[in-house]
């Protein structure tokens, strides 16, 4: 299977030091994940589980206080492999937008408030393409047109656009150079429900037309259900389960995933929604063993001692839970 990006045994920590207080937040602790060409991969989990950090590492945007403590991270474009962790910042920046792009959270503030949208497009395009102002303008207008956005937005300032429109413009800005890999961080958060739908559709449209790969971070399982081919569930800096979307929704195996799915409202079910007991652990001082065990209703003794390995259940379904791996071991064959 050809992958576009791959992280192996990745550890990324936030290490800060200020007035003699040193702190380490283990935002990503030993995660391995492959992003396949052409897919839409969703990363789900509660806030503070490390999903945004994972996206930053995939983007190669590793700025202090974030530091990579261990593992490897690779891109593959065509036949060429790139080791992200040893690439220079300048080389990484050259790959951005033309190969890998990023749609940030909260588009309210990602557009320069005192610059016309058209100029912002020019800034972003001219950084990666040797074009003059007229050509970048033409390119941006054409692309906006293809996405069904009016070319009028080129002449206005961000504050003159609605929130939904600003997010669409941001998506266009991120994808105008047809990147292979698009990373989106909570692209629908802070938008109202109707607008969310439009944005999700736009994302899907861009992905399909350009044949790009989309990695999406969201805490909204609804967005995942609508968009994703595969879903990865993160908990407290660890990958706990990854599988095709329908498997995650129909037969989740990790107790945490089961909680996430059960907490979704269903049309045919009128019973109370259960919420997960307890609180997510701090990433500064996570529990030993399986990080979910203090909140897990099925916790075994081993869960508090050893870290469950990611076990393959076939069909690309992987889970990190002793319940599953123990059962697997006890069954013959």
């Amino acid at each position: 299977m050809s992958f576009l990006a791959e992280a192996k045994d990745l550890r990324a920590y936030y290490i800060t030091r200020s007035y003699g207080v040193e702190r380490t937040v283990k935002a990503i602790d030993d995660i391995s994940i492959q992003i396949k060409e052409g897919e839409i991969l969703s990363i789900a989990g509660e806030s503070g589980c490390g999903k945004s950090t994972l996206l930053k590492v995939l983007l190669g945007a590793i700025d202090p206080p974030l530091r990579i403590v261990g593992g490897t991270m690779q891109y593959r474009f065509g036949e060429d492999y790139y080791d992200v962790l040893s690439m220079s910042v300048d080389d990484l920046k050259k790959k951005r937008w033309s190969q890998i792009s990023y749609i940030p959270q909260g588009s309210m503030h990602v557009l320069n408030p005192v610059r016309k949208i058209g100029n912002t497009f020019h800034d972003f395009i001219v950084t990666h393409r040797d074009l003059d102002k007229q050509e970048t303008g033409k390119m941006a207008r054409n692309y906006l047109g293809r996405l069904g956005l009016s070319a009028e937005v080129m002449n206005v300032y961000p504050h003159q656009l609605s929130g939904g429109m600003r997010q669409r413009v941001t998506i266009a800005l991120a994808t105008v150079l047809s990147p292979k890999l698009v990373l989106a961080d909570e692209p629908t958060t802070a938008l109202d429900v109707l607008v969310q739908r439009g944005v999700v559709q736009l994302l899907k449209e861009v992905q399909q037309r350009e044949g790009s790969t989309l990695v999406l971070v969201s805490h909204d399982m609804g967005v995942h259900a609508n968009l994703a081919d595969r879903i990865a569930i993160l908990y407290a800096g660890k990958l706990v389960e990854i599988a095709k979307t329908e498997r995650i929704f129909n037969s989740p195996t990790h107790p945490y995933t089961q909680y996430l799915i059960e907490s979704l409202p269903r049309l045919d079910d009128k019973s109370d929604r259960t919420s997960i007991p307890g609180r997510p652990p701090t990433l500064e001082n996570p529990p030993k063993g399986c990080r979910f065990h203090p909140r897990c209703p099925h916790a075994l003794e081993v869960c508090g001692q050893k870290v469950p390995p990611l076990t393959d259940l076939g069909n690309g379904h992987q889970t990190a839970c002793f319940l599953v791996s123990e059962v697997d071991n006890s069954e013959p064959g």
């Binding site: 983007l59 945007a61 920046k93 050259k94 951005r96 937008w97 990023y102 940030p104 909260g106 309210m108 503030h109 990602v110 557009l111 320069n112 408030p113 005192v114 610059r115 016309k116 100029n119 800034d123 972003f124 950084t127 990666h128 206005v156 300032y157 504050h159 003159q160």
Partner: protein, 332 residues
């Protein structure tokens, strides 16, 4: 027209209020002190003996007229305003009967010249350096510049100017010590270059101190803007450093700087007055000094009133130009 109503009109109203309050304060202050102001002023005027009795008499009349001591306090207040509207600040006491407004008019070009040049230079220099220092705070070079400005900024105007006088006029006498120019005012190169030469030290003192202030402010603002989403996003996309600094950082940090310039003009002006006094630069500040020296109360009062109106107006102009820079105010 929205802009006019929501932005321009309130500023103009604020100007009216400022001028009203400022003038009222200068009206009230002399009246808070007990005693006859005419006698008080005359008794403090050292040069009185040298004037002939007729001049003293007319001076007395002028003073009585000036203070408008007839009628109720309210009548006096109205008269005070009436005179001001005519641009009449009364005669100077030390150079009687030269009108105060004439003395101010003579000093004004020097002060305005000194003030605008040094403000323009320090404003651009401070913002440029402060932004670069704030954008790459880890560079050793910028840390040194930062420390230097932090140590200069709190030094009082007078002290810094005095040091410059000591160093450059006594020990290394490269620059002329006093005055605004040498020779007769003509359009010749020597005259113009002498203006430049004379203004170099006073302007340098002002520029150094104002640049330090702008630098510190620009650096703080840049730290905030550099952490903003739009700068972070532009960095992620690999935009070149100069493009980010120019269009993403400075264009944003400049806005609060313009607002602040309007508010701090009074302080800048006060600084310029002190500098003029130290260097005997022939502007309004020096006239003020002479006024203090010769107990010319009327001149001091006139300069105070004039500077309140002048600074309020300059601040209004700065304020009114703000929408040109900020589209969020322009297109609401």
């Amino acid at each position: 027209m929205n802009l006019l109503k929501s932005y321009l009109l309130p500023r103009i109203a604020q100007w009216v209020i400022t001028v009203f309050i400022g003038i009222t304060v200068t009206f009230i202050i002399p009246r808070l002190i007990p005693g006859d102001p005419v006698e008080r002023t005359l008794s403090s005027l050292g040069s009185l003996q040298t004037l002939d009795p007729r001049a003293v008499e007319s001076l007395k009349e002028a003073l009585a007229d000036l203070y408008g001591l007839d009628g109720t306090q309210f009548d006096q207040y109205i008269n005070f305003w009436k005179r001001l509207f005519k641009g009449d600040l009364g005669p100077s006491l030390s150079a009687f009967p030269t009108p105060v407004i004439e003395i101010i008019a003579k000093g004004l070009p020097w002060t305005v010249g000194l003030l605008t040049t040094s403000t323009l230079i320090s404003w651009s220099l401070g913002i440029a350096l402060g932004t670069l220092a704030g954008y790459s705070p880890k560079r050793l070079w910028w840390q040194i510049v930062d420390k230097a400005f932090i140590s200069i900024y709190p030094i009082p105007h007078y002290i810094l100017a005095l040091i410059l006088v000591m160093v450059f006029s006594y020990y290394f006498p490269i620059f002329p010590l006093v005055g605004g120019a040498s020779g007769k005012p003509t359009l010749s190169w020597t005259y113009i270059s002498s203006i430049f030469e004379h203004s170099l030290l006073p302007a340098t003192s002002l520029i150094v101190l104002s640049t330090a202030f702008r630098f510190i402010m620009a650096k703080a603002l840049t730290t905030t803007v550099a952490g903003s989403d739009y700068v972070g996003y532009a960095e992620t996309a690999g935009l070149s450093k100069w493009r980010i600094v120019l269009f993403y950082v400075i264009q944003n940090t400049m806005l609060p700087q313009v607002t602040d310039l309007g508010l701090s003009l009074g302080a800048v002006f006060s600084g310029a007055l002190i500098i003029e006094i130290v260097f005997s630069y022939p502007g309004i500040g020096y006239s003020l000094y002479m006024g203090v020296f010769q107990a010319d109360f009327n001149l001091i009062l006139g300069i105070t009133i004039f500077s309140i109106v002048g600074i309020a107006t300059a601040a209004l102009i700065v304020d009114l130009s703000y929408p040109l820079l900020d589209p969020r105010v322009r297109y609401k």
